[in-house]
Amino acid sequence: MSTFFRKNLLPLATLIVIIIFFLAAAQGMNSQDFVITLLRGLSVGAVTFLVASGFSLIFGLLDVLNLAHGTLFMIGAYIGWTVFVRPDTFVDLLTPLALALSGFTLRDVYPLLSDRIRLSLSMKRILPWALILVSALLFILVLPRYPIAGWNLDNYAQSPVTYSYMADQGTRLPPPTVAFDQISPALAIGGLLLVSLLGSFGLSLFDQSARRSPQLTWRSYASFVILLFIGLITFIFNDALTNFLLGLNANWLFFIAVIVATLSGAGLGALMEMTLIRPLYSRPIYQLMLTIGLSAIGVQIVQAVWGRPEFIMPKPTLFNGSGASCPATNFSSWWQGNCSTILLLGGRVRVYNEILIPIIGVLVLIAVWILLQRTRLGMIIRAGVQDREMVEALGINVRRAFTIVFALGVGLATLGGALAAPSMGLSNAMGESLLLDALIALAIGGLTSYPGAALGSLLVGLIQQFMIQYGQIGISIPFTSLVLKPTPPIVPASTVLLMVIILLILPNGLLGKKE
């Protein structure tokens, strides 16, 4: 133990000096500033935690540094916004999505089909390409004619910014009616289905070594039928569903938006893992390139679909009131007025940002903790983080666990995005800075440790917010009359410095396992 101190004298001393400064500075704050800063720190910490924990689960089990995690967080925010502000768009998208996916569930059927086809060798070479080409052409032909209500980036009155603003004012537009453009609905739906079938069949033909499924049971068709059914139902009841969502209380709608964002994140994660990440387990460094590439693609897609300008997402009405009784002085008056702010110890606290988000952060923390500690999957994950080869040797289907963990990790990130959207606002750059914060948090807490992710995120959130606050009030240096005012760049520097010092003392972070 004493050798530990001797070896790390310099970083430890620095750390102690920093802590003293930090606490001394906190002395100079009045209690209302203190409360607000504390809660803001918790809020930032909670959002960071949602990104960091998923990142850490993925890194721990799969050894993949998912640098697209920040972008996925951002995508979560935009999906959440879409469902919340433009439910009609969301409903319109369901049918084409279900149809497009349906073909890919028939993978057991395709080998049989390709066996039936007798073709010359050269034709066999061409066939998959031809199918994919036809599928793509058909897609380009059909999709623009399929009615999807949306927004218009070039027209300010119809831009996401405007829709956001109107939703915030409580006026939800009746959806602009869009109609099939020179195509009959049946043809459009059939076309989309054909796109999916041809495309997936074409892709499956590349795979000569495909497992021949000897028997086709009802299972081979089940998911196809279900997806088809969903596609049709959402098509037939499109208007009803839209009106239902529009008529819904905004709180419920927000809830739905968060759930949808989380689930689509999980789906996206599973898809990513199965198609792109899985081939790369043997070449870890190229995962970096892949995830960087995906991240760039993601940002571009977001820019193309939702535009470059930043906009805000309205808060659910429960947290958006500003009546005469606001700011609320206690929770019962808050409940009556649905105030957006509440007075705590004299400080004016935003309920959504600084109370709800930390609470949800803690709830997720507990839920995932239970998942890890109490379920079989959690057991596999924990064992796999410790020693992946061992778990593989035990014959456990680690692959499935990989997919699930990736889905879970991305789901957590998109959940964070949707939750943070009303407090942070939506911008194309929101993912990048958060990914960096999450990385720092993980390095501080321990890269593969779940409690470490929580602790690190908390520290990062608190330090950032306190530094911002100090920037306004200044840090009076003990025993002198000097007052130090951290300039804005010091805020990111403070967490980075803390990370470097902690890593030099404890290379595995505060709670990381020792080598």
């Binding site: 499956s204 792109l276 899985r278 693609i297 193309a304 980075v496």
Partner: protein
């Protein structure tokens, strides 16, 4: 002797042809726009001057990527703070020329010293942290450096977040009117350092660096003080990156704080991955592809360029699994297999 040198030429025929082509490039471009070689020589051709500029940028980027390949590809140290090596060279050059009006030789000496100091700084943490933790610590150090040059307190020297503007470049190498000379200077620096690197990886020292990449514990047990070798690689790399920084500051004559950013390190990483990790020549090819791709896409596609770039990276990873040079050497371009990999998803 005669025989030996002729076989040397034969073995490296492609490289020599490429080198000659690069030397002649400005003149050939000049012919296309109707400027005679003499006019190109006098820096009069418009398009050829532009091509020279693009070439210079590629050389600088190649130098920078080469230095990253040495520590990452050859020695196996994953650093996320490499941009700092470059930025120190660039900023130091800019400040020394602009604020202190030092002669160029003094600037080079100064940058040399600074590059050794920062390699030692990285070396300080080297024995303590390994793998991804080293990457994070270097990221941290580079971020702190980034923040320092961005801070308004040093604004009068560094230009804070606007960057260092108007570096005063010695006239004999001023890229505005002596661009062809600059082109050849940059090319010569690149070729010399590339040859040095080739020699380095095949030297006793370089072989140990490769051994460290493959299995550091074993290299230690064989009797190598791996720390010293890693430090040596870091120093050479740091100096190379800083030289690239000098050229950058002279060529641009603006140094933006972006060159100290994480994304500039990622640029080096991407270039090395595109070219092939640990191949050295891959860094050169990768730099050319990266810069030309960037230029071409921005010019002809505009706003959505980074979508295509992203898609190209993904395609690279799937179809050219070990980078261009690496895959070429392994003779395993995997077009069909790339698809099959994607499809492995359908086999559960």
């Amino acid at each position: 002797m005669q025989k030996k040198s002729s076989s040397f030429f034969r073995n490296h025929r492609a490289s020599f042809i490429l080198l000659v082509a690069v030397v002649l490039l400005p003149f050939i471009v000049g012919l296309f726009e109707g400027a005679s070689p003499a006019a190109v020589w006098a820096n009069q051709g418009g398009i050829s001057k532009f091509a020279e500029g693009l070439g210079i940028e590629i050389f600088i980027l190649a130098l920078y990527a080469l230095s990253y390949d040495l520590i990452f590809g050859v020695t196996g140290l994953l650093s996320f703070g490499h941009a700092m090596f470059f930025a120190v060279g660039a900023y130091l050059t800019g400040i020394a020329l602009k604020t202190f009006a030092l002669p160029l030789s003094a600037v080079i000496g100064l940058v040399f010293l600074a590059s050794i100091v920062q390699a030692l700084l990285f070396g300080l943490v080297l024995p303590r942290v390994k793998g991804i933790t080293f990457a994070l610590v270097t990221l941290g150090m580079a971020s702190v450096f980034h923040i320092i040059i961005m801070s308004s307190e040093l604004g009068s020297y560094t230009g804070a977040d606007v960057g260092l503007q108007g570096v005063i470049v010695p006239s004999f190498i001023n890229p505005a009117n002596e661009r062809l000379r600059f082109y050849f200077v940059a090319l010569v620096v690149l070729v010399l350092i590339y040859l040095l690197y080739q020699r380095f990886v095949n030297s006793p020292t370089g072989r140990v660096c490769v051994a460290i990449r493959e299995n550091e514990g074993r290299a230690k047990m064989l009797g190598y003080n791996t720390f010293a070798f890693k430090l040596a690689a870091l120093m050479l790399s740091s100096f190379t990156a800083a030289s690239a920084g000098i050229l950058h500051a002279l060529y641009q004559p603006i140094v933006s704080p972006n060159v100290a950013d994480l994304s500039f390190t990622v640029t080096a990483l991407l270039i090395v991955l595109i070219g092939g990790v640990g191949t050295l020549s891959g860094a050169l090819i990768g730099a050319a592809i990266y810069r030309l791709l960037d230029f071409g896409l921005r010019r002809y596609i505009g706003e959505n360029a980074s979508f295509i770039t992203g898609a190209i990276y993904v395609a690279f990873v799937l179809f050219i699994p070990y980078g261009i040079v690496g895959t070429w050497r392994a003779k395993s371009f995997r077009i069909a297999e790339g698809w099959r990999r994607l499809l492995a998803a359908f086999k559960t």
